[in-house]
């Protein structure tokens, strides 16, 4: 189960994400993610990806199911990594697009102070319209915020 504090971070504050998969030869692949949704069961996350950035992804997931998703609040740098196993994939639906649109506006709101001269459409354009929804079950959560605690496993708690 994803703890409440981290669940709120996922839903309310994270503004950039990246996903990693790997193939049968252990070659890693990274994928830019446009949006995400926490499952109602509190155990799964669905990531929304443009096909353009999903090369190898479905082959990797069907081959071995291993997936990692890093979610960050930029520029605060608070970051968590979620590792787990692939559950299913499907095409994007209208409610997914609505959620991605809202997360895109959060991204624009958070980036504008950093790039006040940048055209808003360019900042908005960084969050590419997704084609694919990938759901996975979270099995481990790691703190990834830069600093001495980075890399600590939060869920399940690391053994002392």
């Amino acid at each position: 189960m994803i703890p409440g504090k981290i669940a709120r971070f996922v839903q309310e504050r994270a503004n950039v994400a990246g996903m990693a998969s790997r193939d049968a030869d252990l070659v890693p692949h990274q994928h830019r993610v446009s949006g995400w949704r926490l499952g109602k069961d509190g155990k799964t996350i669905t990531a929304y990806l443009p096909a353009l950035f999903a090369e190898h992804l479905l082959e990797d997931l069907e081959s071995n199911g291993q997936v990692a998703l890093s979610l960050e609040e930029y520029p605060a740098h608070e970051t968590y990594q979620f590792k787990g196993v692939f559950v299913r994939q499907r095409a994007i639906e209208a409610e997914d697009r609505a959620l991605v649109a809202a997360q895109r506006e959060r991204f624009v709101h958070d980036m504008l102070p950093l790039y006040p001269e940048a055209p808003v459409d360019l900042i908005r354009g960084f969050i590419v319209e997704p084609d694919l929804a990938v759901e996975f079950e979270v099995q481990e959560i790691y703190l990834q915020t830069p600093g001495p605690g980075a890399g600590a496993r939060l869920v399940p708690p690391a053994e002392k």
Binding site: L26, P28, S70, P75, G125, Q144
Partner: protein
């Protein structure tokens, strides 16, 4: 308009993107087959076939690379609406020398600009061979405002 082009070495067009100060995404994989996704502060141009990636913390990425030398990095050019995906193979780690010194100066500048002074510190410049480089144009795919 979307377009993807693959190169077998780094074209000149990528150099300003590597210098733009925007964090890059990096995927690695452990010997046990668990992928890892992280953000790196700096991908430094060495020559047309090599880059150096900043090693700032002894973390899972570093452990993975010592076990399995393959990595993939994405650098972003949001103003040109282009991403560059670099397929990499670890070669060696440098803790001194001109590449390390140049990266150290840039890391200090990035840390200062992002409020991370005292946290971002270069431990080594990890040198990678570029196996391939893919340029992806994604302009025109954003939705209208919510």
């Amino acid at each position: 308009m979307e377009q993807s082009t693959t190169f077998d070495r780094l074209p000149d067009a990528i150099r300003p993107v590597l210098d733009n100060g925007i964090p890059a995404g990096m995927a690695t994989c452990s010997a046990a087959g668990v992928p890892n996704m992280t953000v790196v502060s700096q991908v430094y141009y060495v020559d047309t076939q090599h880059v150096a990636v900043s090693f700032q913390f002894f973390n899972k990425t570093v452990r993975n690379i010592r076990e399995n030398p393959r990595a993939e990095v994405a650098v972003h050019d949001p103003f040109g609406q282009v991403d560059w995906i670099l397929e990499l193979q670890f070669v060696r780690s440098e803790k001194e020398g001109p590449i390390f010194e140049a990266m150290d100066i840039q890391i200090e500048a990035i840390a200062s600009a992002t409020g991370m002074s005292g946290i971002f510190k270069l431990m080594a410049a990890d040198i990678y061979r570029v196996r391939s480089c893919r340029r992806i144009e994604y302009g025109g795919r954003a939705a209208e405002p919510a």
